[in-house]
């Protein structure tokens, strides 16, 4: 079995617990002064990569875990977090603040990164919680012509470079099997990410972080989708409370719900 060279793309997003606010100009969501952190699904990818090594799950072993993020300089914070969780090294691709890449551009960038880093397994989150697109992993697999398994809740390694992935699908789970190289996207049930402890955070500061530009990957931040406007969804007004079950039943009847 080949040794694994895992590439883990991660994204810095507005923290999942923050309620996003649309900006006044209606061009996007207010990001200044808002808490950001690693996209939750990407934490699962980092955790899974580290566990594959720690638990010696892959017969050929894990040779390298490289995290990569394209974003403003602050994206380096999430790369450091990933290294504190156990990734070996990081690549930061500098993208001007507000010049966010679309999934297709990210997939093209990652294809180049996979070739340069000689990765044979790419572990991505199934979607980022800002754009909610759920595209990048599948697009990358398509561009590379590799096997893909999306929304993974279990990843198992077999003989002869084979990987079995249990995927979350509508109504249950489905298992597929393929050989390396492969693209896998993570779902919530895959694992529970660890918290980086202080000694590991200190150690992560010494791990290598290489800085690159979009030009290094032959990618531009030109957009195919022009955002015409971003608005708040129509607000939903609570209808008040009732005293007891009888009140609940009669109110539901009034509303025509039962």
């Amino acid at each position: 079995m080949s040794a694994l060279r895992i590439l883990v793309p991660i994204k810095r997003v507005i923290d999942y617990a923050v309620k996003p606010r649309v900006n006044k100009a209606q061009t996007g969501v207010e990001t200044a002064g808002v808490k950001h952190s690693m996209n939750p699904f990407d934490e699962l990818s980092v955790e899974e990569s580290v566990r594959i090594r720690e638990k010696k799950r892959a017969p050929g072993g894990v040779e390298d875990i490289c995290v990569i993020s394209a974003g403003p300089p602050k994206a380096q914070d999430v790369l450091r977090t990933a290294m504190a969780m156990g990734a070996d090294r990081a690549i930061h691709v500098d993208v001007k603040e507000g010049d966010d890449l679309e999934p297709l551009a990210v997939a093209k960038l990652l294809k180049k990164a996979v070739e340069e880093e000689k990765s044979n397994l790419v572990l991505l989150g199934k979607q980022s919680i800002d754009d909610d697109a759920n595209q990048t992993g599948q697009m990358l697999a398509g561009l590379l012509g590799w096997a893909q398994a999306t929304q993974a809740s279990k990843v198992e390694f077999g003989e002869g470079d084979s990987i079995s992935v249990t995927k979350e699908v509508d109504g249950g789970v489905e298992t597929v099997r393929a050989k390396l190289p492969m693209v896998v996207t993570t779902d919530l049930r895959l694992n529970e990410p660890r918290y980086a402890n202080l000694p590991n955070i200190m150690k992560a500061k010494k791990k290598p972080l290489s800085k690159k530009t979009l030009a290094d990957f032959g990618v531009s931040s030109d957009r195919r989708l022009k955002v015409l406007k971003v608005t708040e969804p129509a607000p939903r007004q609570g209808g008040g409370k009732v005293e007891d079950v009888n009140g609940l039943v009669s109110r539901l009847k009034e509303l025509g719900a039962i």
Partner: protein, 350 residues
Amino acid sequence: MLCTARRIVAHQLPGRLTQAITSPVASLSPAALRRLASTLAVLEQREGRLNQGSLNAITAAKKIGGPIHGFVAGSSIKAVAEEAATADGVEKIIAVDNGAYDKGLPENFAPLLVENIKKGGYTHVIAGHTAFGKNLLPRVAALLDSQQISDITSVESENTFVRPIYAGNAVATVESSDPIKIITIRGTAFAPAELGKGSAAVEEGVDPKVESPTEWVSEDLAKSDRPDLATAGRVVAGGRGLKSKEDFDKVIEPLADALGAAIGASRAAVDSGYADNSLQVGQTGKVVAPQLYLAVGISGAIQHLAGMKDSKVIAAINKDADAPIFQVADVGLVGDLFDKVPELTEKLKE
């Protein structure tokens, strides 16, 4: 010929429209441009049965304008194709009969779609934002060098679409400049096209017979006699407040039975093992929009609200009067769910 011409025109549209004043394309009115649109609606099938839920792709296609073709693939596909051919608004069903496509593996299904999209010269390709659509369409988009538009809730024009972002906390209107627009739609935002109203022709599609490096091994689907969560008219959902799987089943099931409702759950309930993963409602689970959504023991985190706030009527039972769910609920009852829900179930049975 017509198809080829249409494709060439479509390719010219984004860039040339402003500069090529002398070109015949530039002089076309928006309505005429719309007539050049043609859409392929990707329909799902399972074990020789058409997935009725995928017919809403046809409804979304109608809003774009232009002819609509449906696409199905799998073993013994004839019956599925003929059923789909009766859908209201479809001109043609493209069918590919090959068991290799039964499991919808994107590695061979994506090249299959790409070949048929190219052959038909389609300007739009639409599928549901389901496990199948999410897995497949981005791969198709990448092969066509198109930036997909995911999970749309509305069609504004043939190139402008509305989609929720940030777990539904913001709504973006986006305009695509790609010659072929690859789109997944939010099922609850478009009604399924009616069957039995049309009589489209069924045509054999091209089959590139690409080998899949991925092999389908097995599946384990939750069996249930209840209505399907994604399309149910009523949903009863339980959260952390249910405390255990036994209590979840004991309290929620009779209530769901009394209402003829599907059962849903919050992420907290799923993570604690009270309910199956496939029942999760929210940003990372299913998005539902039933007539009635009854939230029991659910506080109402933004990730959960993302999956249910378009419900017609929301009712909530929670012992915490300050739970955020009460801010969106049309009717709320503060109290212990272990008292209130059995009482409610009894009243509903009367």
